[in-house]
Assembly symmetry: C2
C-alpha cells in the first residue's frame, strides 16, 4: 500500500506519476470503504481524487493556498494532509468535519460548506499576498454547479477587473447536486454550438467563398478558421471576464493535470483551468447514480444500496407528496427550488408537472425574486430551500417579497439541528432572521399531518409571505387526538391541561414538551403544553392568559437570541405578566457536527434536562 | 408645451417622433426644475428620458410590463404614467416615492430600490405569462452597474437556460453610482480588445497570410473578418448565456430606439438590447459630475451647486477621515465598499491609499467574503456598506466571517431611519439580523468622537467580526463631560444618575434619552440614562443592577422584534428582575419615505412621546 507511506503532501511529491496513479486507486478504495460506514459526500470526493493529488503534487502547499468551494469534495485532500488516521471519524461527533476546517489543518485555508464563495475568499487572499509582497499561488477550486451562484460571478467579475495572480480551477462534472442547470453549465459542456459562433462561422465562410480565391485553399482556410475558433470556444466567457483560459482537460489524467499546473504556475494574472471530471468516478453505483451518492448514509459496497431503516417518512417526502396534491387541485400552485429537487422532495412534482416546478440551480436570490414575479402575476409559488441556504436570499425576502406582501410560500426544510453536516449547515437562525421582517407569517408543524395542513393553508393565504419550517429527517407522528381541526393564523393549540407550568413549544419540540409534561406529572407538577404552530404572529390571547401559571417555558430549535422565546419574554414582561420564565433554545455559538440526538442532548434540548430545569424553576418560584 | 397634453402613454403614442424629441426636452426641464426643489436621483433619470419614451411608445404598457432595475431612473416614467401633477411631491412625506411602487400606479410592475433584481422578477412574470398562455412582452431595464450584482447574473443565467421570451434592456452609462467597476462593465465599453479576440484575429491573419492567396484579396479578407468579429463583440457574453444580442445603440436617438424595439417585439426567446446613455444627459453640471448628481438634495439650477447648510459633519465623513487616520497608523488596515466610495466617505482613503481601498461594485456578497480572505491572511478589513444593502451579504456574514471568527469590521452606515429614499432603503433590521449571529460584536456610537473611538477599537479587536452602526446624516455632538475614557467590550456608559427610571439607549437615541431625562426631571422623575454602545454583548452588570429602579425603558432605531430592547426584556424577565418595562423601537411595518424628523415623530421615537409614556409607566407601577 503506497497510502501507508503518505501522510502529507511532501510524501506525495516523492512519488512518480505512475505511483500517483496507484495511490489514486488506493485513496478511492479507502474513501469508499470509510464512507460506506460513516455516510458522507461520496460522489464529489471520488470525482476529485486525481485533481487533488495533482494540485498538491505541483503546488507548494500549505504555502500555496488551495481554497475549496463547497468543500464536500475534499476527502482525498483530508486523507493526504494529515487526517488519514482520523478519517474513520468523518462527520461523527468529536471527529473530523465533512468540510474543510481551518481549525483542523493548516492545509485547510478557509471554512466552507455553502457554494460559490471560493473565488471571493481566494481573491481576498491574493490581495493580501500582493500587499505583503509575497509570492505564493492562490488556487480556488470550484464546481460548475457553484458557478450558478451570484457570489461566484461577483468574484469572477471583480477578479478579472483587479487582474492579480489567481488560479481558478473549474471542476466540471455537469452536476451540482442534481444535474447542473443554468446557462453557464450548459455553456461549459457545449462546443461551438452557440448562435454567435454559428453566425460568425457562416459569415466568414461566406466571405471566403465570395472572394476570388482558388477553391481548395479557400475550403482549407474555412476549416482551419473553424478549428481555431473551436479551440477558443469553451473559455470565451471567462476570457471576456478578464481571465486566461486553459482547457478543457480530462480531470482523471494525472499526467495532463500535472503538466498544465506546472505550466500555469509561471503565468501572471487571473487564470481559469477547466477540468472535466466524472462524479462518483471509480465506484460504479456512484457513477451511475451520482445524485443518490451525493450525500449518502451508510451503504453496502457490493450492491451500492443504502443501509437504512425507513421507520417514518421524512418531512421532505411528506412535503413533496403534498405539493403534488396541491398542484393537482390548484393550477396556480407552482414550486421553485435551488438545486435541491431531490433533497426537498420536489422531484415527484417535477416529474408530474414539469412546467410548474422550476429548479434554478444554486441561486437562492434569484429563486426568491423570481417567485415574486410569479406571485405578482397571481401564481402561488412554493419556494423550497433549506434553512441554512435561505440565508442567501435574505435581502430578496425583505425587499422583493415581504415589502410587497407577495403571497410566496417558503418551505424551509432542514430547520433546526441538521446533524452530520455541521456548523455550516445547521438551520438555527431562520426564526430570528425572519421574525423581524414585516408582513411575514412564520409557522412550524408539530407532525406530518400538520405540515400538510399548514402547506394547504399557506397556498390559500393571500396577504403576504408565509414560511413553514420543518426539521431534517423523520417527522414525529402524534396521537390522533392531537390533530388540529383547523388552522387559524396566529392561533396556538393547547395539547394538555395543567396549572403549574405552561410549556410553549415550536415544531418538533412539541414532542419534547409532551414528554417533559409526562415526566413532570410523575413529580406532581401539572403543566399545559401549547403547540405554538405560529411563531409569528403569536397567539396573544394565550400569552395574556399565562398569568395564571407559576412559570412559563419555551422550547425551540433555533438560537435563543431573536428566537421565539425571546419574543414571548418581551411580550410577557412588557405586559406585566408576572411568572417565572425560561427559554430553552440553542446557545449563542455555532453548532458543530454530530448526530442530531447527540447535539440535542449536548445543547440542552433533551427531555431530562428541560424537566429538571422546569422543576427548579417552579421550586424557586415557590420559595 | 407638449407635456401639458401628455398624462399617459396613450397620449404619447399619438405623437410623431419629432414631437417626442421636443417632449423629451420638456420632460428634462420639468425633472431638473422639480428635483432642484425636492432633491432626488437626478442624473440617472435624465439619462433615461428617451429610453423611457421609446419603451412606452413602442410597447403596449401597462399590458406589456416594464420592470425597472433599482428604479431611481424612473422619473420620466412616473411623469408620463399619470403622476405628472404629483411630481412636485417626490420623496416628500405623503407624496410619491422616488422609486417604482405598485401601489402608486398600474404602470409600476414591481417595487424596487436595491440593484439587480429586475431580470429575476421579469423572468417570474414571463413564466407566469407562459403558464396562462397570454402574449404580453416583459421587459427588464437594467443598468450596467447593476450587472455586477450576483442576483442579476443568476437571473441572466437562468433566463438563458429557460429560453422563454424576455427582453433585457441594458442601460449602459458606465456608472453605477460611482463609475462602474468590474469586468462586465469594462467589457461592455470595450470593443475587440480582449485577449481572445486578439489571439483569434492573429491566428486567422496568420492562416490567411500563409495560405497561397493573392495578396490583395487576402488583406481584404482579413479586414472583413475583423469587421464581422467586431460586430459581434460586445454581445458575446450575453450570447454565451443564451441571449440574442442587439446593440450597442445610442440611447438618446429616439428613431433608433423605436426602430429596434419595434423589430425585437417579433423575435422569440431571451433578448438583450444594449443601449448606451449618458448619465445626467441634458444638464451640464450633472453630465460633468454625475456622481454628485446621482442622489442630490436641493440645488441651484443656474450654478449646479447644492443648497445645503453644513451644520455638522456627517457620520460618513467622520468615518472616512478616521479610516485615513487608522490606515496611516496601521499598514494592515484595508477598506472595502460596494459601489459606495463617496457615500460611505471612503473616497478620501482611496485617494491617499489606492492599493488598500477596494470598491468591488454592487457586490455585497463578494465584498464580505473577500474581506474574509484578507482577514484570514492577517489584514484588518473595514467593510463599509449601508445597513439596507448589508442584507445582501447575510449568509456571507454568518458562513464566511462569523463562523471563522474573522476580525472583519463592518461599518454599517445609514442604520436606522434614512428618510427620503423610503421603505426599500430604511436600515431598520440590522440589529435584529446581526444579534442572532454567534461571535458577532455589535456597537453603536452616540456621537462623532465615539464613532472614532469604536472604529479604532474595532481595528484592534482580534476575536471576530465587529459591527459599528451609525445613522445617515449628521452626527449629534455631546457635551465634553460625556466623552468615554476608554472602550471596553460589552461595557455601557452611565450618563446621568437617577432613581426612578433607567433609560437604555442605542446610538443616536442616546441624545433622545438625555432629552427625555431632562423633561422627566421637570416633572419630578429622576432617571439614569445609559449609553448602550454595545448592543451585543450586553452589559450584564448594568442589567442586573436595574432591579433598583421602578421602571426600565429602551430606545433604539430598529424594529422592535429581535431588537436591542427585546434582548434586554428577555434578560430581565428570565432573571426575575421585577420592573415595569417598555421598548421604544420601530413597529412591525415597512417605513415609508419622508424626512427623518417626520418619521421619527410618526413612529414614536420623539422626545415628547417617550417622556409621556415613561411617566405613565411609572404611574401604573406606583398604583
Amino acid at each position: 500500500m503506497l497510502l501507508e507511506g503518505v501522510n502529507y503532501p511532501e510524501d506525495l511529491r516523492k512519488l512518480s506519476v505512475d505511483e500517483l496513479k496507484v495511490l489514486a486507486a488506493e485513496i478511492r478504495d479507502f474513501i469508499i470503504k470509510t464512507v460506506s460506514k460513516t455516510g458522507g459526500h461520496l460522489a464529489s470526493s471520488l470525482g476529485a481524487v486525481e485533481l487533488t493529488l495533482a494540485l498538491h503534487y505541483v503546488f507548494d502547499t500549505p504555502k500555496d493556498k488551495l481554497v475549496w468551494d463547497v468543500g464536500h469534495q475534499t476527502y482525498a485532500h483530508k486523507i493526504i494532509t494529515g487526517r488519514k488516521d482520523k478519517f474513520h471519524t468523518l462527520r461523527q461527533y468529536g471527529g473530523i468535519s465533512g468540510f474543510p476546517k481551518v481549525e483542523e489543518s493548516i492545509y485547510d485555508t478557509f471554512n466552507v460548506g455553502h457554494a460559490g464563495t471560493s473565488i471571493s475568499a481566494a481573491l481576498g487572499m491574493a490581495l493580501a499576498r500582493d500587499l505583503e509582497k509575497s509570492q505564493e499561488n492562490i488556487i480556488a477550486i470550484i464546481g460548475d454547479g457553484s458557478l450558478s451562484c451570484g457570489i461566484a460571478y461577483e468574484g469572477l467579475d471583480n477578479a478579472g477587473y483587479i487582474d492579480t495572480d489567481l488560479i481558478v480551477v473549474v471542476n466540471d462534472n455537469n452536476m451540482s447536486i442534481s444535474p447542473s442547470l443554468g446557462s453557464i453549465s450548459a455553456y461549459l459542456s457545449k462546443k461551438m454550438s452557440g448562435p454567435v459562433y454559428n453566425k460568425l462561422r457562416d459569415e466568414i465562410e461566406k466571405l471566403i467563398t465570395t472572394l476570388p480565391l482558388p477553391h481548395e485553399p479557400a475550403l482549407k482556410l474555412a476549416r482551419k478558421i473553424e478549428e481555431s475558433m473551436k479551440f477558443f470556444s469553451p473559455g470565451l466567457l471567462f476570457e471576456e471576464l478578464g481571465f486566461k483560459y486553459f482547457g478543457p482537460l480530462d480531470g482523471h489524467k494525472l499526467e495532463d493535470l500535472i503538466k498544465i499546473f506546472n505550466n500555469i504556475k509561471k503565468i501572471k494574472g487571473p487564470i481559469v483551468v477547466h477540468v472535466v471530471t466524472k462524479k462518483g468516478k471509480g465506484y460504479k453505483p456512484a457513477e451511475e447514480n451520482p445524485s443518490l451518492f451525493h450525500g449518502i448514509g451508510k451503504f453496502d459496497i457490493e450492491s451500492g444500496k443504502p443501509l437504512k431503516s425507513t421507520k417514518n417518512k421524512s418531512c421532505s417526502s411528506i412535503f413533496g407528496d403534498k405539493v403534488v396534491d396541491l398542484m393537482s387541485k390548484n393550477p396556480n400552485v407552482v414550486a421553485i427550488t435551488a438545486a435541491m429537487l431531490i433533497g426537498t422532495g420536489l422531484q415527484k412534482a417535477k416529474d408530474i408537472y414539469p412546467d410548474r416546478v422550476f429548479d434554478v440551480g444554486i441561486a437562492e436570490q434569484h429563486a426568491t425574486t423570481m417567485a415574486g414575479g410569479l406571485a405578482m402575476k397571481g401564481y402561488k409559488p412554493v419556494v423550497a430551500i433549506y434553512s441554512t441556504f435561505l440565508q442567501r436570499a435574505y435581502d430578496q425576502i425583505i425587499h422583493d417579497i415581504a415589502l410587497q406582501k407577495l403571497p410566496v410560500v417558503f418551505a424551509i426544510d432542514r430547520a433546526g439541528i441538521v446533524g452530520d453536516d455541521g456548523e455550516t449547515h445547521q438551520g438555527v437562525f431562520d426564526i430570528s432572521y425572519l421574525r423581524c421582517v414585516p408582513n411575514m407569517v412564520i409557522s412550524a408543524p408539530k407532525d406530518p399531518k400538520e405540515l400538510e395542513q399548514l402547506l394547504e393553508f399557506a397556498t390559500k393565504y393571500e396577504d403576504g409571505p408565509f414560511a413553514i419550517r420543518y426539521p431534517r429527517g423523520f417527522c414525529e407522528e402524534f396521537d390522533e387526538k392531537f390533530v388540529l381541526d383547523r388552522i387559524e393564523i396566529g392561533r396556538w393549540q393547547r395539547l394538555t391541561d395543567g396549572e403549574d407550568l405552561a410549556i410553549l413549544a415550536v415544531g418538533n419540540c412539541v414532542k419534547t414538551a409532551l414528554n417533559v409534561s409526562e415526566k413532570l406529572k410523575l413529580k406532581g407538577i401539572s403543566s399545559s403544553v401549547f403547540n405554538a404552530l405560529f411563531i409569528k404572529p403569536m397567539d396573544e390571547d394565550v400569552l395574556r392568559s399565562l398569568s395564571s401559571y407559576k412559570a412559563v417555558i419555551t422550547i425551540e430549535e433555533n438560537v435563543a437570541i431573536g428566537g421565539f422565546g425571546e419574543g414571548v419574554a418581551k411580550f410577557l414582561f412588557e405586559n406585566g405578566i408576572n411568572v417565572s420564565f425560561r427559554q430553552f433554545a440553542l446557545p449563542d455559538v455555532f453548532i458543530e457536527h454530530g448526530s442530531q440526538d447527540i447535539l440535542r442532548q449536548k445543547y440542552n434540548l433533551g427531555v431530562d434536562y428541560i424537566t429538571s430545569q422546569s422543576e427548579s424553576l417552579l421550586i424557586n418560584k415557590g420559595s
